[in-house]
Structures are given as C-alpha cells and as structure tokens.
C-alpha cells in the first residue's frame, strides 16, 4: 500500500526530470530568447495568398482566392547586386520555426523573387483550418534569414466574379474563383483562374493603381481555335507578357496544354478573342509556372528564353526567337501528342514547385526533395537548369581524375562553391 505513492512520486520525478532534460538539451532558453520578432501579427496576416507577382515600383501583387481579392503591397528592400545563390535545404523547417508550427502545417502556394533585394517572397497558408491565415515571408539569399512581410499598407480590389455577379444569393458562399496566375503589364494586372462550378475561359483585366471601381475589372472570354475546328472553354493556367516581333503579346499556357499567343491590344472587355495556338506542350501534363528571362548562351551571346515548369513532365525551355518565328505563321492546325509546334527543350527541373528569375546569372527555384519530403530554396544557373549537387556522378568518386581535355571540370568547379560545396572543388 505504502509503496504505491512513493513509486508514483518517483515516476513523476523521473518524468519531470526527463522532460526538463529534453527542454534544456533542445529548447531555447526563454530567459535569453528574444520573444518578439513581430509587433503585431495582424500586420502579417491575409485571409489568403494564392499567387504572387511583382509590379511597378516593386509593389507585390497578391491574389487571394478565398476573399476574391487582389492586393498591392508596397515593399521596401535593400539592393543586392551580387549573384548570391540560395542554398537553403529544408527552408520549410526555417519558415515553420518563424511561424511556430510544424512543417506539416505549411502550405506553400507561390514564390517570386524581389527585383531589387533578390529575396524570395513565399506565400504560405499557415495551417489547414478554414480560417487559417496566409502569410508572406521573405527569405534573403545573403544570410538565409526569414522575415514576415508587413501587409497592412496594402491597397486592394475585389475581383468581380463575372459568373456569379447576379447570383450572390441566398446566403451561400459563391462559386469560387481559384486564381492561378497574375501578371502586370502596362497599367493593368491580368488575373487567370478556374472556378469550382464551371470550366470557362475567362481572363480578368484590372487597372492598376486600383480605382476601386468594379467596372475596372473586365471579363474576357478567350478561345484557342485548333482542335480540328472545335473551340474550347479551357481556362488559362499560367501566362507572361513579352514583346514578340515588336508587338506586346500575352503568352499563355492553357490547362491542357496548348501554348498560345494573343496581341495584348486585343484583350478588351467584351471581345471574343481567338488566340493563336503555337505549340503543344504535351498531353498528360499541367503547366505550373511560366517565366521569361535573358540568358547567356555558350557562345557568349544573349538570348531571351521562355521557361515553363510542368507538374508531370520536365520543364519546357523555349527561345523567344523560335516563339516569334512560330508567331509569324498561322499557328498549329492539328495536334500531335506533343511536345511540338516549335523547338521545345526539355530541362531536368521536375520536382520544381516554383521558379523565378533571381539575377542575370541565376534562377531561384523552390523544390520538393523527393527523398526527405522537405522543401528546398535553391538557385540554379541559367544555361544549366539543374543542381549539380542533386545528382550522384562518377566525377565525385574519390579516385576520379579529370582528363586534360575534360570539358566539365571548369563548370563543376565553378558550380560547386555556388551550390555551397567549395570544399569539393577538384584541382585534378
């Protein structure tokens, strides 16, 4: 009888000591830890943050599918000119720590690189709950630090849902627009999306700075007219604006997966637009993201590229010269399995969740590590479009010696320090 309380006391004592130990070994000491990193999280919270895009004067556009809004958030940034690579394996752990949640509670929605500071701006939903807030974090390539973006000074516009304007009735949440891309071009932002209740080809055009006039949001029906003379109600998945043959042009990838062009001047409210289909990116595939950038070729010349990240396939790399050539013709008249329509180079970027141009040398990518499941924020060299350190090769065997004429030695030795492995540079 008497031993029971003693045993339990001992057990409690041991448990307490062990938990104390665990605390001392692993946890930060609260008496020395600075508690406040942000004054008021209300400054950092958005109801949703699905898509990001940078606009004029480094304003950050945020598409919030949940609220049906687009925000314009002014950003302040310290200029970084040097090409400093991101090598942040497991950036999800770092962000989770900043936000006080397990990594399993982070939903990564989009990533863009700040044009001045080269910081990666990442849109995150913190937790799975219906009312869980969304946060924008900025990660610096200089020190890898994570900071929360103050969103309190935003301006905003409500996206008029052209489908359900007249039908916001009877107290239910409306047929929701899931914003899939936002791009800024010459005084307007263009918003692409897909709704729960309809497979439709509507693009929205909104004047920026926001006038807060609903009329500023134009709904544009856009078709591409190949399909053996069938037209489709397919929505645009991702898009970019470029000057093609001297004409401002919208380049868009549809959900299943033609690549089309349309002169920007034709995108007006009420216009029934037929886009020209220039290429097929391949069946059984969903484009995730599209960017354009200038890259230096092996011969030293510069070429403007279009890079499309795909969910299932390798990324598609296209020279805008080839795109412009294709654009002078009538476009594709029939489909093959694809990819076809112009020269499309597959580049080994599968696993990439998001990509953005970082500096003249590099792209920033957010990747899911297939083995560990962690999220990595890493830079890739333009021209290479892969991370040397992602691959095991015979070059890294201890007894491997580069031959005199080995073309890859200089490239490997240049890339290793950039990827964070200066100790692996080989003299021979």
């Amino acid at each position: 009888m008497k031993t029971i309380p003693r045993l339990s006391l001992l057990l409690v004592a041991v448990l307490s000591i062990s938990s104390c130990k665990a605390q001392h070994q692993k946890g930060p000491n609260p008496s020395t830890t600075k508690i406040t990193t942000v004054k008021n999280a209300a400054e950092n919270k958005l109801t949703g943050a699905s898509v990001l895009a940078f606009g004029p004067d480094n304003v950050l556009f945020v598409g919030d599918s949940k609220a049906g809004m687009v925000y314009a958030i002014p950003t302040k940034a310290r200029e970084v000119k040097d090409p400093i690579a991101f090598n942040l394996k497991g950036v999800d752990k770092k962000i989770a720590k900043t936000l006080g949640v397990p990594t399993s509670e982070l939903i990564f929605n989009d990533m863009q690189v700040h044009p001045v500071s080269q910081e990666a701006y990442i849109a995150i939903k913190r937790g799975f709950a219906v009312d869980a807030p969304s946060i924008i974090v900025a990660v610096s390539p200089v020190d890898g630090n994570v900071r929360l973006i103050d969103v309190s000074k935003k301006t905003q516009v409500k996206i008029k849902n052209v489908r359900t304007d007249e039908f916001e009735l009877y107290g239910r949440s409306s047929d929701r627009l899931n914003i899939t891309d936002i791009d800024y071009n010459d005084g307007y932002i263009y918003v692409a999306g897909l709704t729960n209740g309809e497979f439709a080809s509507t693009l929205r055009k909104i004047a920026y700075p926001f006038t807060n006039k609903q009329e500023a949001v134009a709904g544009i029906e856009m078709y591409h007219a190949v399909h053996n003379q069938k037209e489709t109600r397919a929505p645009i998945r991702t898009m970019a604006f470029e000057e093609i043959n001297g004409v401002s042009t919208l380049i868009a990838a549809y959900t299943c997966t033609p690549l089309v062009s349309i002169p920007t001047s034709e995108i007006k409210e009420g216009n029934h637009i037929k886009a020209k289909t220039l290429a097929e990116l391949g069946y059984g595939n969903t484009p995730i993201d599209m960017i354009t950038f200038t890259a230096q070729e092996q011969d030293g010349s510069f070429d403007k590229k279009l890079l499309i990240i795909n969910k299932e396939r390798s990324a598609s790399l296209i020279s805008l010269k080839d795109f412009a050539n294709a654009n002078t013709g009538e476009g594709m008249k029939s489909f093959a399995m694809g990819p076809e329509g112009m020269k499309i180079f597959p580049v080994p970027m599968s696993g990439t969740m998001q990509v953005a141009e970082q500096n003249p040398m590099m792209l920033t990518t957010m990747q899911r590590d297939i083995n560990s499941g962690s999220v990595d924020l890493v830079s890739e060299l333009k021209g290479a479009y892969f991370r040397l350190s992602n691959f095991d090769s015979e070059y890294e065997f201890p007894d491997y010696k580069y031959t005199e004429t080995e073309p890859w030695k200089d490239f490997h030795n240049m890339v290793k320090p950039i990827e964070g492995y200066p100790e692996l540079v080989k003299e021979k």
Binding site: L9, P102, F128, L169, T180, G197, F199, T255, C256, M337
Partner: protein, 343 residues
C-alpha cells in the same frame, strides 16, 4: 544535503501537479491557464516536435486568477505545446474542436447512370478537409478492378469551396473533348456500357484524420450527352399566392449541382431579388425554391444565367464540345428571363 534533494523532488512533484490539475481552455484564440498560482515571470510557450522546440511568439497577461497567453498566430489543435514558467514545465495540447472522423456524405451527380462525356463531379465531405494532395487519392476503377490512369484532371490547385467541404473533380477535358489528340489516341476515360467506380481513399480532414474506410461511388456509363440544356423543355409547378409553397422546375436531364445552386434566381416585377432556400431533388432533375416570405398574387420573373450547365459542361448557350460559331451567343453568361404569375 538530504533536505535539498527532498526539496527538489517536492518541487518537481508540484510541477507535475500543475500539469495534472491545470485547466486549460481557448477563448478568442487566447489560451487561458486557469487558477494559475505558479511563477509569473520567465514565461514562454513552445511547440514541441520530434526534432525541435519552437518558441511561439505572443504575450502573457494575468487576468484575475488566470494566466492568459495571446499568441501572435492562432495555435493549432492536437499538436504538442509546452509552457515554461520559470523552471517549471507544463506540457499540453489543445483539444480538437471537432474530433469526429470525416466522411463522404454525397458525390454529385447522384445518378448511377452517367454519360461517357462526364466533365465534373463534386465530392461533399462531412467536415473541412485538407486542401492539398487529395487528387492522387481519388481513383477511377474499371470493371476489371484496374485503375484508369489520367482520367481525373490533376490540376495544380485543387478546387475546394470556401468551407473546405466540397471538392470539384474534373475529368480530363482533353480526353472528354472530341478532336483533341488525347481523345483520339487514348479515348475517353469512360466507355459506354461499362461499369466504373470512383474510389476516394486516404483523404484527411484538417486535423489529419482519415476516412474510416474508402468511399465508393459506383456507376454505369451510357453514350455521350450531346444535348444542351434548354429552358424551353423545362416544366414548372407554380406556387399559390399567400403561401410559402415551392416553385419547382423539372428538367429533362440532370443539371449540374453548382448550376442549380447559383444560376437560377427569382425576382419580383420591381426587379427585387426574392430570398428563400433552394432544394435540389430527383437526382438533380428538380429545382425547388421556397421563399422566405409568402408569394403575393403578382408577376414574377425567373432569371437564368445561360452558363447553367449539365454535368458534361453543356450549357444553355451551347455544347461543351462545339464547333466555332455554333454557340447561341458569342458572349457567354447572357441572362435569360422567364416571367411567371402567382395567383
């Protein structure tokens, strides 16, 4: 010496007592430690994971007898937290607000005979679900128990409603639509006269709880639906004046559930919206509207958005699979007005 050991053991025991008897509740996203009589300085809350102890930013306040922690971001249910107060430790977790296992309550269309060119389905869950990583867990299975791969469109963003209880799934449009290469080489995922099932597997609710068992929706397939919905074929049952009886529309064929919910409205002669509730019956072939207030002996008008579609994406303006120039109106979304009288 001995005394100090006893003192240490006693104080640790006291810690454990705090954890045992401490009542912890959550109010307005603030965590309340009731009847707090332990230290009030050096306070901090941590998230405890297998690899890490993460400081939760926030502030503490003593309110009467209670200690209140106001976190900068809402705290999560069912994860391990630790309160440190001086040298004392309280491990706790917040009870999930709802801990029932999620279930699939219905799959739309509810009919068990569906057309070959079916474009969309809606899966209705009993509670809010995680909104990522689900499409890989929903499979189309044929009569031979084989998965029909590439049938369901693997969109990057899953199409959830605001309450996170309804997921839209789209049958890959490039296989549904004729003339497209995927359609011509692979054919439609659904074949006429065959039987299929949609199997909804290990999807999780927002707390990470899975369905008790996979949900199966079985159906057989008939020829493609190549007839657009047409308001001229609708049959109406008009309500009586001074009653709250239902205004009903019977359709020849199944109409898309979201279209029934969002694309038909009732107005009075002054163009004022009549509020009420919608009831969808008869396997989505009947739409009923019960007004909040009694019908008056007056003229009314039904306004129907021509985007109203069937489950194959054919709408009042034309077929999903249509030739150029064959739509009734170049601009989709035209409102069709159907006047009616209540007497």
């Amino acid at each position: 010496m001995k005394l100090s050991i006893i003192f240490v053991i006693l104080s640790l025991w006291a810690n454990a007592l705090i954890a045992q008897h401490l009542k912890i509740t959550v109010k307005n996203e603030r965590v309340v430690f009731h009847q707090w009589n332990a230290p009030k300085h050096n306070l901090a809350v941590f998230l405890v994971t297998t690899n890490d102890t993460i400081l939760i930013n926030g502030s503490f306040k003593k309110v009467d007898e209670d200690l209140v922690f106001n976190p900068e971001f809402p705290m999560l249910d069912k994860v391990a937290y630790r309160l440190k107060a001086g040298n004392e430790i309280v491990d706790f977790s917040l009870k999930a607000k709802i801990n029932t296992i999620p279930s699939v309550t219905r799959v739309y269309p509810t009919a068990d005979i569906l057309p070959e060119n079916l474009l969309r389905m809606y899966i209705q869950f009993s509670k809010p679900m995680k909104t990522v990583g689900n499409l890989e867990k929903i499979r189309l299975i044929n009569e031979n128990e084989q998965e029909v791969k590439g049938a369901i469109f693997n969109n990057v963003y899953e199409l959830w409603d605001d309450s996170q209880t309804q997921l839209t799934i789209i049958f890959d449009p490039s296989r549904v639509k004729t003339g497209l290469v995927a359609n011509e080489t692979l054919g439609r995922a659904l074949q006429t006269d065959k039987k299929y099932k949609i199997v909804i597997g290990d999807v999780e609710d927002i707390y990470g709880q899975k369905l008790a068992q996979p949900y199966i929706k079985s159906f057989s397939v008939v020829t493609a639906d190549m007839v657009s919905p047409d308001t001229n074929s609708w049959q109406y049952v008009l309500p009586k004046a001074n009653s709250k009886s239902a205004l009903a529309i019977h359709f020849l064929d199944t109409v898309d559930r979201m279209s029934l919910l969002y694309r038909i409205q009732v107005f009075n002669a002054q163009n004022e919206l009549i509020t009420g509730s919608i009831h969808i019956k008869n396997k989505e072939k009947t739409w009923e509207f019960v007004p909040d207030n009694k019908w008056l002996s007056k003229d009314y008008v039904l306004k129907v958005n021509s985007r109203l579609a069937d489950p194959s994406g054919n709408n009042l303006n034309g077929l999903f699979d249509h030739s150029i120039g064959s739509l009734k109106n170049e601009q989709e979304g035209k409102i069709i007005e159907i006047p009616f009288q209540v007497r």
